[in-house]
């Protein structure tokens, strides 16, 4: 099913346009007919598990990889026809900090500035600016090999900002970072968007997409399986959820007992022995659940009402939790993951 597209006149105002992009590596189909359009000054979240095709799409947009078919444009410029113009418009920061370990932070940034042919003077002042902004002034003249993981990631982001990109492509910018550093990264990204930068952000973290993205595309096995704002995606699961946790022995019995409660099919997470039921009228439904459980003589170890998270959306769309990798054998596409119009 498709989210109702709020109108962006095609082309105009859209900084990233992807149309029918496919890419295979041997027998592996990394991307299958992906379409996407990102309006200027917004954050597009690209959400999917490992191996979903996120990085392949990023590499195509960053001119590192040619698609087998389809078109990709940055600010109206085709990535294959005019890669150098595209390169001058984008900044790329990735999961693996692409900085030189032997150089200092400052040397790395000045080098990138010189490769944009800013001239040494401007390259230096841009480097200072980036270092200041990313809180790396003190470490600026130390070799990068002495940096922590978070500092390297910040420097990598700094390097992608030296050319003042209009479009920032961030491939899992916070994967592997501690929560504190992740919050810092989020703050930087928000600031950049405030200034008018358009951001494409890939992530495995639903929370990250939820926090940063104006609009989210969920991809799985190379296909777009859903898109919309985080609110729209969540609303597809009903407004609220009842979550019941019981002993593993009671799981089946409890699921059966609660089958009439709520307004949707319960999701059972056997690993955590947890049952999640979408509800339409939260309080009456919760009370009904309590009565049912009481009558059946089941005492849950935990019971509560909560707003759905994007994790629930993902689970419902793909039949897998976000942490799981794509299984080798293709599974049936769940009903909710409609391939729309």
């Amino acid at each position: 099913m498709d989210m109702t597209p709020t109108t962006t006149p095609s082309g105009r105002g859209s900084m990233i346009e992807v149309g029918g992009v496919s890419k295979s590596f041997g027998a592996t189909r990394a991307l299958v007919g992906v379409d996407m359009s990102v309006p200027a000054g917004t954050v597009q979240g690209l959400l999917g598990p490992n191996g979903a095709g996120k990085t392949t799409l990023v590499r195509i947009l960053a001119t590192l990889l040619a698609p087998d078919s389809g078109r990709a444009r940055i600010s109206g410029v085709d990535v294959q026809d005019d890669p150098n113009t595209v390169r001058s418009l984008i900044g790329l920061a990735g999961q693996y900090a692409a900085v030189d370990e032997a150089l200092t932070g400052r040397e790395n940034l000045v080098m990138v500035g010189q490769l944009y042919r800013l001239g040494t003077k401007l390259a230096k002042s841009r480097a200072d600016e980036s270092l200041e902004r990313l809180g790396l002034v003190e470490a600026a003249d130390r070799p990068v090999k002495t940096y922590s993981g978070g500092m390297r990631r910040r420097l990598d982001l700094g390097a992608s900002l030296v050319g003042r990109p209009r479009v920032l492509i961030l491939d899992e910018p916070t994967t592997g970072l501690d929560p504190r550093t992740r919050l810092d990264m989020w703050a930087f990204i928000r600031d950049l968007v405030e200034e008018g930068t358009t951001v494409l952000l890939t992530t495995q973290y639903l929370e990250e997409a939820d926090q940063l993205a104006d609009h989210i595309v969920v991809i799985d096995r190379g296909k777009v399986i859903a898109s919309g704002t985080s609110g729209e995606l969540k609303s597809r699961l009903g407004s609220d959820l009842i979550e019941v946790e019981v002993g593993a022995a009671d799981l089946e019995r409890t699921t059966a007992a609660l089958s009439d409660v709520g307004c949707g099919k319960p999701t059972v997470d056997a690993d955590r022995s947890r049952i999640t039921i979408p509800v339409c009228e939260p309080v009456p439904d919760l009370m009904a659940a309590l009565r049912t459980l009481d009558k059946a003589g089941i005492t849950p170890s935990d019971l509560g009402l909560r707003r759905p998270s994007l994790d629930d959306v993902f689970l419902a769309l793909t039949g897998r939790a976000t942490g799981e990798d794509v299984p080798a054998t293709p599974r049936r596409t769940p009903q909710t993951a409609g391939s729309p119009s």
């Binding site: 000054g41 960053a62 590192l64």
Partner: protein, 277 residues
């Protein structure tokens, strides 16, 4: 297929797509970018002294081994063995030194910085040119060091200053052209360890089945036939003639032909491999 788009947000006046000027690389881009990359690689070399130490200890070991262990048993016509050996060592040094291009490029590929370079509006071939130029300058350093070490164990120039400079130049020319072979290897293998191995495998038979350490006259006929024409023998003979005297023209011409041919074939192949990603 899904076409997705979002509504407008409250953020003000993001730059629209209407104002894009096409970016064309100026002709100077190649030179500017190559210098920036070369400088970066030279900083790397200077800051990882263990690599330089490894690159210099190995030829020094060869000098000591052949000068004092095998040297007494090797007889070469017309000159002392140490005067025969050091010109050979100079060629061996630049050839082994050229393999570091493969390792360095492979490291850059593995750690992601090549992706950074590829995503910048810079000259594609400058990344390879900058790398090979830095490796050439390192070779200059190592060759000068080998001359110092050689002099320490008894080597002398017997043919004057000009030809001696020409000898160093011709060795470096061969080393530089081979750097492009190793650039292609470095871009084609999966990791730096494979690059190291893939670099040394072809080099070993070329260096040992040559006139680097001994006269090829004592080799069996089939090996002699190979040893005689291959570039490392040609270069060793040229360097030897230039430093010690003797007929130089044929070997010099062949060394230049080999170097230019290797550069003409492997330069474009390496650049094409780099572009393809």
């Amino acid at each position: 297929m899904t076409t997705v788009s979002t509504g407008t947000t409250s953020r003000a006046t993001p730059p629209g797509p209407a104002t894009i000027e096409p970016v064309r690389l100026p002709p100077s881009a190649f030179f500017v970018d190559a210098v920036v990359i070369a400088k970066r690689n030279l900083i790397r070399i200077a800051r990882t002294p263990q690599l330089l130490v490894f690159a210099t200890i190995q030829p020094i070991m060869f000098v000591l081994l052949f000068r004092y262990v095998f040297g007494g048993a090797i007889h070469v016509p017309g000159m002392t063995y140490v005067d025969y050996l050091i010109p050979g060592i100079i060629v061996q040094t630049v050839v082994f030194g050229a393999t570091s291009t493969a390792v360095g490029l492979s490291q850059d590929m593995t750690n992601g910085i090549v992706d950074r370079f590829r995503s910048l509006p810079m000259s594609r071939s400058a990344v390879l040119a900058g790398r090979t130029i830095a490796d050439l300058l390192r070779n200059v350093f190592v060759v000068l060091l080998m001359i110092v070490v050689g002099t320490g164990v008894g080597f002398r120039f017997h043919n004057g200053f000009g030809p001696a400079v020409a000898a160093v130049f011709i060795a470096l020319l061969l080393g530089y052209s081979l750097s492009w072979v190793f650039a292609l290897i470095g871009l084609s293998v999966a990791d730096p360890e494979s690059a190291q191995l893939a670099g040394f495998l072809p080099i070993f038979p070329l260096v040992f089945a040559s006139s680097v350490f001994t006269s090829i006259q004592t080799m069996p006929g089939w090996l002699q036939a190979f040893a005689k024409v291959q570039p490392i023998t040609r270069a060793a003979n040229t360097v030897r003639a230039l430093t010690e005297g003797g007929p130089v023209a044929t070997n010099l011409a062949w060394t230049i032909v080999w170097s230019v041919a290797i550069l003409a074939v492997f330069g474009p192949l390496a650049v094409r491999r780099y572009r393809r990603g």
